[in-house]
Each structure stands twice: as C-alpha cells, then as structure tokens.
Amino acid sequence: MENDELISRLKPIVGMYAQDKLALESLNLQTDFIKDLKINSANLVDVVLDVEEEFDIEIDNESMEKMLNVQASLEIIKVKIKEK
C-alpha cells in the first residue's frame, strides 16, 4: 500500500481525536500527534485501537511506543500488514 492511501485512511482516525483541526488539514509525514494535532495522550490508545481495526492488524506495545507521528505510524502499519 502506498503512503497516500495509508494517509487517507489514517487521517479520519486521528481526526476523531485531534483538537487542532488546522494542523489536521495540513497533515503530513512530520505531523506529531501530540505536539501538532494536540491529541490527548489518553486518546493515543484509541488511535492505536482504531488503526488495528481499520487495517486488521495487531500492534504490539513496543510498536505502540513509537506511534507518536504520521511517519512512524505508517512504517508500523506497513510492517504489520506484511506480517499478516
């Protein structure tokens, strides 16, 4: 799966929890979930759970620790899809 497609499926998920909607509009690889989108840290786990459902993958805790921005999330999603 290409980055563009992954991002188009990731964006509505993070959009559910993003408090900075302007940062959401300009979402790119460098966008940080907490610093830019102002996602509440307690909601990061919801992003991870929603990503698991959307892509039908399982994200272990070690991978979850790195899911703080778009780039890292895409890499983890790609790895987990390959492992399926």
Partner: protein, 155 residues
C-alpha cells in the same frame, strides 16, 4: 524533581471509553487491571492509575529526555489507601517514583510524583478553573497540568 497530573473526570468520561476492547490491556499491567476490577469505582481507578503514570512520566521524561508512548511500561503499585490519599509507586526502566493521589468524586483526580518519598507531603498544589486568565508561568510552578475544566500547579 516533582511532577503532577490532573484528570477532569467529566472530560475523561466524554473523551474515552475505558471499557472498549483492548483499552485496558494496552495501557495497564495485570496488577493494575486487578486494582481496576476490584475497585468499588472502576472508572475512578482507571484515571487514578493513569494520573499516577502521567505524573511519574513527566519526571522521568525530564530526567531521561526520552519521548515515547509506553504507558504499559510505567508500572503502578498502590502502597496505602486512606480516606484522604492514595500513596503509590511507579516504576519504569529501573527508576522508581513515589506518588500521592487524591480523588474528588465526580470532579477530578490529581496525582503528584517525586523521586523521593520524603518530600511528597511538602508539595503545594494550587488549583484554578482553566478559564481564569492567570499568568501561571510567572508563578514559576515546578510542574503544570491542565485538563477539562481545571489547571493544577505544583510548587
């Protein structure tokens, strides 16, 4: 070094569904999940443990400079429970932080964390409504936490 964390319980109820499948197992250890299951108010226990982790993480993060999302690796232990406070410990990567938490049912949960158990009682907490336009940076707090309707400063 000290840190704090406040959870507005009304905001948490709106923003998170702690009973969602996978929520507890991704955030909490088996012991912590046991505390939650055995609590008379599981919802409050979820956010009490969460605020302990966040308060300890703020101190750990300042010490180590590491940034990661590893709530399950911050291991909470409750040492004593009294009507006025929950005393506990949070461990991560060989570091231990001592915590003191309070639950104000229906309103908020607040935790403070320190590298030493001795100065926990000396920590002064100031609570403000978030809407108030106070210049809190000028007050030079040791740590700041804001959530929902509240702003909590510690000194």
């Amino acid at each position: 070094m000290i840190g704090n964390d406040l959870v507005d319980l009304q905001q948490a109820r709106r923003d998170s569904n702690w009973m969602r499948r996978g929520f507890l197992s991704k955030l909490f250890s088996e012991l912590e999940q046991l505390y939650i299951m055995l609590a008379s108010e599981p919802f409050e226990m979820v956010w009490l443990l969460w605020s302990m982790k966040e308060a300890a993480y703020k101190v750990y993060n300042r010490d180590s400079g590491l940034r990661e999302y590893a709530p399950a690796r911050l291991n909470c232990k409750l040492i004593s429970i009294s009507p006025t406070a929950y005393l506990g410990q949070v461990r991560i990567n060989g570091c231990t932080y001592h915590t003191k938490s309070q639950i104000f049912t229906g309103n908020y949960v607040h935790s403070v964390a320190s590298t030493s158990s001795f100065n926990l009682d000396g920590i002064k907490v100031s609570l403000y409504p978030l809407a108030s336009n106070i210049d809190y940076k000028a007050m030079k707090p040791a740590c700041v936490s804001h959530h929902g309707r509240y702003l909590a400063l510690i000194f």
